[in-house]
Symmetry: C2
Subunit: 218 residues, 2 copies
DNA sequence: GACAAATGCGAGTGGTCGCTCGCATTCTTG
DNA sequence: CAAGAATGCGAGCGACCACTCGCATTTGTC
């Protein structure tokens, strides 16, 4: 019971693993291979042997660096979330309340869609239906962070709304974005751009009537 | 190809299976059990042994009536689509072009959400990421039908739009509905109703500015 | 009741997959 | 260079799963 199986013990008993440069390279190699396999087949259908093969490595070597299949997805997910926070800041796309709604929505959508097109695994791991337990935690955490951020933005724009209203609206916005992302990723070139614009329009038209008098409009 | 797998063959060569009433009952029983298991675990993770157990039947009995696991999902899906068409008509929620937009959207959303709350498997089988090949066909067929219906509705409301614009708008609408459905199913009671209203609002506010002069508004 | 067909059972089969183990090779460190 | 640690290999183990087979029981028909 209560076995969280973390490698953080006050006693330095659990860290005889001195990693060599070769090992770090292998890990990166394996994670890239895993990303490709997860993208094409999804998490559950991806076999560890397939990941090892994709990385040009034997199954045994894979298990030299990862204790099990789930750990690969977790490490990949953690690195993605880390990259995301590093790229967009800890607060995830902070917005000045004075910016016009169109601009705020536009830049937020652009940021997240860019991130997703550059890291297709992110979508596969986060929105896949067959993600492992610990992965779901990472997802839920990110989800909660985003909802919180959106709530913060909306609260200042929806004067007469209850907290429940704000939360509900935030969930709708995130859901619309999520669906839009799916459609955007399914198209390319000009059509993709057109879909991006549609998603922005949906959100702008949805949110505009909710706001009271806009501060600093002129 | 062109194997519709119906039990209607001119040559009586393929139908030595004279089904007894008991058999039909078992089939219904198995499909109900499969629906429950698919709902809780999804298609891929659902084991045929678990379905048989849920139905209070041995694995062998299951395979007396279904050639393989996929056939269970296909039969279930076909029956759901059949029910849907029977409930809402072949055209799937036809709308009089003279009805106001709010009313048209409202009734369509209500219909589909009701169907989904009454048949939770539908969502699990259609939006699950791990659906089998033939199941995807059923889904794509239904998807195309719905897109076509929405396009028909939008075409008369978007005077100056190209066909590509109409198609894109239709996909956005269906996507918004899909996301909304997810959120609606995740809540209950008054909160669920509130989400239903939000989804309707999103669509109404998205579509209203697209229309030119409304015909028959007087 | 007699016979065949339909139904029912559950241990068993073949295949896949996550993961391990023993051993070889390469690197670091003194 | 020597010793030990880190890395690398791939056959193979155990578990699980879709599916089968031989046989028992029930049902429809004459």
């Amino acid at each position: 019971m209560s076995d969280t199986s973390e490698q953080e013990q006050p006693q330095a008993k659990e860290q005889p693993r001195r990693r060599q440069a070769r090992g770090e390279r292998r890990i990166a190699q394996l994670l890239e291979a895993a990303a490709r396999v997860f993208c094409t087949t999804g998490y559950t259908a991806a076999s560890t042997n397939a990941i090892a093969r994709e990385a040009g490595v034997s199954p045994g070597t894979l298990y030299q660096f990862f204790p099990n299949k789930e750990a690969i997805a977790i490490e990949l997910g953690d690195r993605l979330v880390h990259d995301m926070r590093e790229t967009y800041g800890e607060a995830l796309a902070p917005v000045d309340p004075a910016t016009p709604l169109e601009e705020a929505i536009g830049s937020a959508i652009d940021r997240f869609i860019t991130f997703n097109t550059e890291h297709p695994v992110f979508f596969a791991l986060m929105h896949g239906p067959d993600i492992p337990g610990r992965m779901a935690e990472t997802h839920d955490q990110l989800h909660a962070t985003l909802i919180g951020r959106i709530e913060g933005l909306l609260a200042s724009l929806m004067p007469g709304a209850t907290p429940a209203d704000v939360t509900r609206t935030a969930h709708i916005c995130l859901g619309v974005y999520k669906t839009g992302l799916e459609l955007v990723l399914a198209h390319e070139g000009a059509e993709r751009d057109a879909y991006v614009q549609e998603v922005k329009d949906v959100l702008i038209r949805y949110l505009t009537p909710l706001m009271g008098d806009r501060p600093g409009r002129d």
